[in-house]
């Protein structure tokens, strides 16, 4: 197998755990700039996912979508956010209404819930469970951020994370991810 094939295989089978890590870090982060960085990392992972799907399925439009995701969500929007943070001259603190420990346990509960929710669905339709669960987890995290952070910037970021989740769910169910349900979490 060529190096590119191996790489795309790896990306496709293990990207959801990195998305879960970004979810956990997002709910814990204390500074707005950290959250913006995490959001752009998340979008980069999703863009890589789109590229990998395009390579596997040989779909030209996937490359276009991936490039758009990269330009807009990884470069443009975070830059705009950083500019906003500078201009608004507000404090850099996230102003969370839950302590980091509570937030991270809520995040764990949300991840478990997303797995429980997609379990039955994922078996009926041939969709990799992990990707769909990551999508639902992103949606829940976005909603949680909007609810528990008192800064308007964080609420906007929460909405964007939620939108990331919806995009990932759409990607998973429509472009049709290659059937890699067996490879992930290899024993």
């Amino acid at each position: 197998m060529g190096l590119v094939e191996i790489a795309t295989g790896k990306v496709l089978s293990s990207f959801s755990v990195f998305l879960f890590l970004t979810v956990l870090l997002l709910v814990v982060a204390r500074r707005i700039s950290t959250c913006i960085l995490l959001f752009s990392v998340q979008s980069a992972i999703i863009a890589a996912e789109v590229f990998a799907t395009g390579f596997q399925e040989r779909l030209a439009e996937a490359y276009v979508v991936g490039a758009l995701v990269f330009v807009i969500k990884v470069v443009a929007i975070p830059r705009a956010f950083f500019l906003l943070v500078d201009r608004l001259k507000t404090s850099r603190d996230v102003k969370a209404s839950t302590t980091p420990t509570q937030s991270v346990f809520i995040a764990v509960a949300m991840i478990y819930l997303s797995y429980a929710a997609v379990h039955s669905y994922g078996q009926a339709v041939h969709v990799p469970e992990d990707a769909l669960a990551a999508a639902v987890a992103l949606i829940l995290t976005g909603a949680f951020l909007m609810v528990s952070r008192r800064k308007a910037l964080m609420q906007m970021l929460g909405l964007l994370v939620l939108e990331n989740g919806i995009f990932l769910a759409a990607l998973t169910t429509t472009f049709g991810m290659p059937d890699l349900t067996g490879d992930f979490c290899a024993r």
Partner: protein
């Protein structure tokens, strides 16, 4: 022959421990654009300390002098648990990670008592802070190892390492990534590295681990220092053995052992480099933010355990 190699492993862990300290110090110095001390300087420090007198406060009891010995004894025993060059160690085939964790707790218990025996305010302060951190760090440590053990189907360390060795290096498992994250955070907290504790601080009020040993001098201090170094080396070796053991010798031949040893040093050096970068890059956490740090580690390790069940579905 296998026993001789196991003995060699334990000796490497024990005798090579100060070298690891020296390497981290040198890399940090290089990052900070300083010359830095030689990587062999911790050995020189230990030799110097062994030649000095042992100063004891007049109000201290036998626990004060006994504590460094217990700490050293448990550190040496823990070093016998961890495989380095081959997937077995002196006590690893029957000893599991619960025994390892609680042996470390035994050493810590006596060290805290020794700190309180000095009769100074700072000893009590160090013991109190160490008590907070170690009580919260036990859970993620054990949970992370439990997650790996459930996947491996073994609870003894040799079994876990042998199982990981059989896996394909490119099949990253979510459980392992999460367990590694939480274990790395716990190792940082337990061995007193940044961002939990600054090992090179001179300000007593910012110390956690060092404050407990302020009253020790001479051979007792040498025992404490070497025990901390052995504990650090053992934890690093445990992380490498559980998460990146490929390269370990599966046959008993001089070449494979030598190659495994070289590979181990390379992995350790990479890990030291990463640690040095993290230590130079982040600021020390305020003490009351450390429970949040450990709470994140607990949640990540709990997630790792949950994922073991999800993986089997």
């Amino acid at each position: 022959m296998k026993i001789a190699i196991n003995l060699l492993q334990a000796l490497i862990l024990i005798l090579g421990a100060p070298l690891l300290r020296g390497i981290i110090g040198r890399i940090k110095a290089w990052i900070q654009r300083r010359q830095g001390a030689s990587i062999w300087s911790p050995y020189a420090d230990l030799v110097k300390l062994f030649r000095k007198e042992d100063l004891v406060p007049p109000s201290a009891s036998w626990v004060f002098r006994f504590a460094p010995r217990v700490l050293f004894g448990t550190a040496v025993c823990v070093a016998a648990f961890v495989p380095v060059v081959q997937p077995s160690a002196l006590l690893a085939s029957r000893g599991d990670f619960f025994l390892l964790a609680y042996l470390l707790a035994l050493g810590r218990f006596f060290l805290s008592l020794g700190g309180m025996d000095g009769g100074s305010a700072l000893g009590g302060m160090g013991a109190s802070r160490e008590a907070l951190i170690s009580s919260l760090a036990e859970a993620p440590f054990l949970l992370g190892l439990v997650a790996v053990a459930i996947l491996a189907g073994h609870a003894d360390i040799a079994g876990m390492v042998a199982w990981t060795l059989r896996q394909n290096i490119f099949n990253i498992s979510a459980v392992h990534i999460l367990a590694f994250t939480s274990l790395a955070m716990v190792v940082i907290a337990e061995t007193g590295r940044m961002p939990v504790d600054n090992p090179t601080t001179h300000l007593e009020l910012t110390m956690i681990h060092e404050a407990m040993v302020l009253e020790y001098s001479g051979p007792s201090l040498a025992l404490v220092e070497s025990a901390s170094a052995i504990k650090f080396h053992t934890m690093v070796a445990l992380l490498i053995a559980l998460f990146a053991p490929w390269g370990m010798a599966t046959s008993v031949s001089v070449w494979s052992i030598a190659a495994a040893l070289l590979l181990y040093f390379l992995k350790a050096a990479v890990l030291m480099g990463l640690l040095a970068v993290v230590e130079s890059g982040v600021a020390k956490l305020r003490m009351y933010l450390v429970p949040d740090f450990l709470g994140v580690a607990s949640a990540v390790s709990a997630l790792a355990v949950i994922f073991t069940m999800l993986a089997k579905r």
